[in-house]
Symmetry: C2
Subunit: 109 residues, 2 copies
């Protein structure tokens, strides 16, 4: 059986993997500020509930876009880091930033 | 009162405006295939329910990213077309396509 049309479209596959407001915001934070711990994602600023953040981090980990790195052994503590696959998304976020800067206002669209 | 941090970030503003799976899929279709009527968005292929499609088209219209163009007067019929602001999103979709081609497989990630 042939694949559904959309799976043959690389743009669709990318949208399917990361085409989500929360995933894009997490990627933006990791690209701008570098590796960070769970609690460093600023929930208040983004309006992202902890369970949403947790779910999206797991999803990005499953997709191989981020990974958890141990940065302290006693007690064990982890931070989230972009993989090579995740870093390769930089042009997507750069294009979003450029468009946002050119076409959206600071007080909203 | 100062704006919340995120509204001052152009990437966030862009994500807020179009960072949604369905919006990105609509934009992709309009960029790849050009102007199209409501019924030309292939629901079966994308899995997008008509009410979702309708809502996202309205949202993109409100954002000034697409507009409805009259292409037949008797009876009145419309098609959806990208505005200049919408066409300026091409680099975002191009970056998504390039990443999808390089990092996701045809059978899924």
């Amino acid at each position: 059986m042939s694949l559904p049309y959309d799976k043959r479209c690389p743009a669709f596959r990318a949208i399917d993997a990361i085409g989500d407001k929360w995933c894009l915001m997490i990627l933006r934070d990791l690209m701008v500020d570098g590796p960070r711990r769970f609690q460093d994602f600023n929930h208040a600023r983004t309006g992202m509930a902890p369970n949403i953040l947790s779910g999206r981090l797991k999803r990005l980990e499953t997709e191989g876009i981020i990974f958890k790195r141990l940065y302290s052994e006693h007690p064990p503590r982890y931070e989230y880091v972009l993989t090579e696959k995740g870093q390769a998304l930089t042009p997507v976020l750069t294009a979003l930033r450029d468009w946002g800067g050119a076409f959206t206002g600071k007080a909203g669209p």
